[in-house]
Amino acid sequence: MSRLLTIKDLKIEGYQEEKWNGIVHGVSLTLERGEVIGLIGESGAGKSTIGIASMGYARPGCRITGGSIEFDGMDLAQASDEELRKLRGVRIAYVAQSAAASFNPAHTLLQQFAETPVKHGVMTFAEAEVKAIELYRSLDLPNPESIGSRYPHQVSGGQLQRAMVAMAMSCDPDLIIFDEPTTALDVTTQIEVLSSIKNAIKQHNTAAIYITHDLAVVAQISDRIMVLRYGNEVETGLVGQIVQDPKEDYTRELLSVRNVRHDTMEHSDSDSTILEVKNISASYGNGVRVLNNVSTKVTKGMTVAVVGESGSGKSTMARVITGLLPPEEGEILFHGQPLSPSFKDRSLDLLQRIQMIYQMPDVALNPRQKVKDVIGRSVEFYTGLKGEYKKARVLELIEKIELSDSYLDRFPSELSGGEKQRVCIARALAAEPELIICDEVTSALDQLVAKEILTLLQDLQNELGMSYLFITHDLATVKAISDDIVVMYGGEVVEQGSKTEILTPPHHDYTDLLLSSVPEMDPNWLDGVLQHRLDLEARGVIIHT
């Protein structure tokens, strides 16, 4: 049998700022039948573009300018639209990152499942239904017989993602392209989806291109890994070779991301509590409790990490502390003084001392304000500095966040994700706060950039001595930066204590589940952790939906 996919010297350009720029500069790739290759790199590495191009497709605003894409003896770069149409969905399928955005909310899962096979005349609706149930079962979806009649909003994110994988597999394709299928999921859900995908493609002997930015994830599922950067191939090799013996520095850097440790922290001697949250309960006005009887403390100069999966109420806690969501019960003490429940009733002085940094720097910065105005306003508003003094202070802050004065006149759209987050940090610093609440500040960033941001935050804390309340779902971040850890689940605090207490066994069962869910570089990790999970489930720790 011939080779399934051969991409030779692929070149793709994208249209931006009135000109065509190279996105992929001559990447070659081969794929045998039933083989899984992982494409890995930071955003902008061109991995999605290559993935989509292997269907002979380029997104609007992109064009394939060179090279060949040979799928089972047919050159897709030269094929007509009609030929491609016959191929797509039937022999090559695609699974997108966000299932929620890819499903049509107005049709049931089964209707959408059946659309491709019926349209292509591969099977009738009744046959498709049988096939759907079979696939739903092999992907471990609950109630495979009836789940097809549900609408996309009636199933969870992880289930929806698996339903999309089922959809892609409806016509038994030879090749499936997975474009970051687990990136938007919690670590605990990620495992479930990952293992379902792994089993399903193994069962059907499907070849796959698995695109992700997380090396540990790709190590679980692929046979080979290709590392990409700026549209070029860095290196390609078998999983074991890439993980254990990477040839290139960049790959090594990617590998070391998960092992960040910061032991440089100088703990302040004074043990003064600056913020105390006492028995807080809160809801969003629909009667559903999002926070239930939560208490915790933040000590001066320390970092408290709040961990949990989405829906655990960790971001709600941040909103309660900042006063955006007044709690129903309980109180917040700042330096022993009760804080007004709503930020509107707090004095400017108090507002100044608690600052917040957000998850998405894109929406946290006004696109119509220059960097110097973003930081300058905060400086002027809180410190009253004007003119030259204000300028000098802004410059000082810009240097603190390790950017140069050439950034002052830029708009947010002219900054990278990491740079935007730095500007947000500078804006918070301008207030000279005592406490900064960091709400998932690194989750929208690439791993290497996230590491830089964490290092910066750490350095700033060492220098300026403020405290952080660090909200995150990423345990690698927690390990890297925290002094104390609060583990949350279902709106309640499951466990809290110092970092060593929490991270040293024996763990609380839920903490154990979270910790074991963080992908490790070991290619055999997934199988081991699944066994561990079954044990936990047998003991009734995980409430399965």
Binding site: L351, L365, R368
Partner: protein, 286 residues
């Protein structure tokens, strides 16, 4: 100014045409006394007399390009003065309605709660009554002086502007940068002026163009009904009405001011389309 030229150069042909039409109209409006061959109310001949299409027309000096209207005034002159009156009033009215509408809309979106309720329900009441009938009612009570005309149309139109600016501001208000400003302790005006307005500008500018057209047509409609600008002031709507009976005798004079209305409306819309396209962020691939 340089940026403006660059922007204009990159515009598609339709948008350039639109800009050209608007510029001609604005030019005519500003320099009306200089361009027009006669004074606004001069009678120069018989009714519906002459025009370039009429070979047997009596020779005026200077020649009347479009002939005369129903009482023998030069139609070309009236058309130019009409541009001045109609466009001028429509422009001032639209500005006023946007001032009122945007301010109220932004306040409602930022403060929410009872302020939003009171403003929105009041607007609903205004919108429940057909605009033309409402305007006719007020104008027949208050009289039809130009200031009254402007204020009445502006307030009626502001209800539409209120709706759109509230909707746009609501989208922006949930952005985290607005939350940051609120948490910083910024006041209402600062948030409206610095956080919301700059980001709402693109759709509102496009809406301004559309609204201008509607106001302009509305004035023409009112004039046609006799409640707009009063004679002998030249204005395109009343010119259509005054000359309307001529159409029964095969005289095309009423169609000329009507064509002027249509042309300007099309011109403005071409520019607005281009703006909306740019604002929506759709990239064109050439």
């Amino acid at each position: 100014m340089n940026d403006f030229w660059k922007l204009l150069k990159s515009a598609p042909f339709a948008a350039k045409l639109g800009v050209f039409i608007i510029l001609i109209n604005v030019f005519a409006a500003i320099f009306a006394p200089v361009i027009a061959p006669y004074a606004e109310t001069d009678v120069i001949g018989d009714m519906w007399d002459g025009g370039f299409w009429d070979e047997n027309a009596p020779q005026h000096s200077p020649v009347s390009l479009l002939g005369t209207d129903h009482i023998g005034r030069d139609l070309f002159t009236r058309l130019i003065y009409g541009a001045r009156n109609t466009i001028g009033i429509a422009f001032v009215t639209t500005l006023l309605s946007f001032g009122v509408g945007i301010t109220a809309g932004f306040i409602a979106a930022t403060l929410r709660g009872w302020v939003d309720q009171v403003l929105s329900r009041t607007v609903d009441v205004f919108m429940a009554i057909p605009t033309l009938i409402f305007a006719l009612m007020i104008l027949s009570v208050m009289g039809t002086s130009i200031p009254v005309l402007i204020v009445v149309i502006a307030i009626l139109d502001a209800t539409r502007v209120y709706r759109i600016s509230r909707a746009v501001a609501m989208d922006i208000e949930v952005m985290e940068y607005v939350e940051v400003a609120k948490l910083r302790g910024e006041g209402l005006w600062w948030i409206i002026r610095h956080e919301i307005l700059p980001n709402a500008l693109a759709p509102l500018v496009a809406e301004f163009g559309l609204r201008f057209c509607f106001v302009f047509l509305f004035i023409a409609a009112l004039s046609f009904l006799g409640l707009g600008l009063q004679p002998p002031t030249a204005d395109w709507g009343s010119m259509v009405r005054e000359n309307a009976s001529g159409i029964s005798y095969g005289i095309i004079v009423p169609l000329i001011p009507a064509a002027a209305i249509a042309l300007l409306t099309v011109g403005v819309n071409l520019v607005v389309d281009w703006f909306l396209h740019k604002a929506s962020g759709i990239r064109e691939i050439k």
